[in-house]
Symmetry: C2
Subunit: 238 residues, 2 copies
DNA sequence: CTCCAATGGATCGAAGGCGCTCCATTGCTG
DNA sequence: CAGCAATGGAGCGCCTTCGATCCATTGGAG
């Protein structure tokens, strides 16, 4: 009649995980940093007005402003008052991220594999509207043209664009999360020009397959692309 | 220098989504209901002690107890005091779930496709420990033996077991979430014996492929299995 | 029979977060 | 040059949630 609660069924552990990601303030800061680090809001770019942001994040304006004030003091953003004022992203900001442990690395890489290969396949299987096709090509061009400074930001945007192409908000959100975790890992290893060239070629293969509507090829190309990054990370962080 | 915030970049929407799932109390209730509905804690089974649960859920005991009291009044659980007391799951409880809209259906089914096919492939690609192999066979047998009353619970457990077999906590958690959303959809359509037989055959194919270590076959079998459910749902809820 | 350990039950003060309202600044518009 | 609109800045009272502590109940252990 009673369960063996000692080793605790892994299914239970999955369901009885923490309900809230902790402090609302910290979580808000984390989100804003995500947007900056992923390059979704580029350096110099303007964040949405506080009233809109707080509403989107489901957080009071008071809390949002506390988060923004902290980011201001840490030099990530800058606020200007008055009409046509706003909050702006300041620097490319190379913040040191905490080094994750081995289990967390495998967890991140495995979840990433499932989500990104799935997204690539699904994007290829859909009939993409012209605007989406343009966006994909644009992100690909940006990533190819990016020097070492902007590479990871444009790379993140390209991968996010693929997720968006599936028109599945949950999938995009999940992938944005895992991407943030991945960037935390990538921050700990050097960016080698040879890898960059290699990645660009793979990106082109992936996007071509998606635009061609070849789901199998898109999945395979993505899998190969991810394997490269995964091997690199395991090598540096093992 | 400023962003086109009007239609709002979908990537921004993905990042600037709500920080907290709302009320801590409601979220806690939802989690407990998940555990009950997914059959992770079977009818008559005992929940972990309040102190442990509140700690796992990252919620104060006060809040957890409020949630439990609500579930008690709705007849889902029952509490007994004293040593060897505890909180126990009461009935199979057929609660009516709110009907989701069309976009939510596609969102759920698409995310599910990405996660479940990924999980099947990854589980097959791993070298599974004996205990995991046994667990998979056990869940398969339970689902096959289950009558119409217990089918969806055992089915949920089987799919969760596949996710657990990947040894990737994030993936298991994500899949548990999407499964809950799926069950909300399934609750709105009838369970047809013919589908049940068909599903059981597909389950066997999937598990066999996983135990054989045939990743490609596992993915394909899972994709076919999901297509059946998806078509059924689209048919009934379109 | 007594004690004890494990569980649920209850209360209180402190902190976090929210909704609301009003203020301050700025630059375009007429 | 005066007004206005859009933005950031700041304060107040309320509700939720938390952490800690103590109480109540129960059944086995000694």
């Amino acid at each position: 009649m009673s369960l063996p609660n000692d080793p605790l069924d892994p299914a239970l552990a999955a369901l009885f995980r923490p309900v809230r990601a902790g402090n609302a303030l910290e979580e808000t800061m984390e989100r804003m940093l995500q947007a900056i680090r992923l390059g979704v809001v580029p350096p110099g770019g303007q964040l949405p007005p506080e009233r809109e942001l707080s509403s989107r994040l489901g957080v009071s304006r008071v809390t949002l402003r506390e988060a923004l004030r902290a980011l201001q003091e840490s030099g990530h953003v800058e606020s200007r008052r008055g009409r046509y004022g706003g909050t702006f992203v300041r620097v490319p900001s190379s913040d040191p991220l905490p080094a994750p442990d081995r289990d967390a690395i495998e967890d991140t890489l495995t979840l990433r594999y499932a989500l990104e290969t799935g997204a690539a396949e699904l994007a290829a299987a859909r009939s993409l509207p012209p605007a989406t096709r343009r966006h994909l090509r644009g992100c690909l061009a940006d990533a190819s043209a990016a020097g070492i400074d902007h590479y990871r930001r444009t790379d993140s945007r390209l991968h996010l664009a693929i997720a968006e192409a599936t028109a599945t908000p949950s999938l995009t959100a999940a992938l944005a999360d895992v991407r943030t975790r991945l960037n935390a890992l990538l921050a700990a290893i050097p960016l080698i020009p040879a890898n960059l060239t290699h990645s660009n070629a793979q990106h082109k293969t992936i996007i071509d397959a998606i635009l061609d509507g070849d789901a199998t090829a898109a999945r395979a190309a993505m899998a190969e692309h991810l394997a490269g990054t995964a091997a690199l990370l395991r090598g540096f962080l093992a």
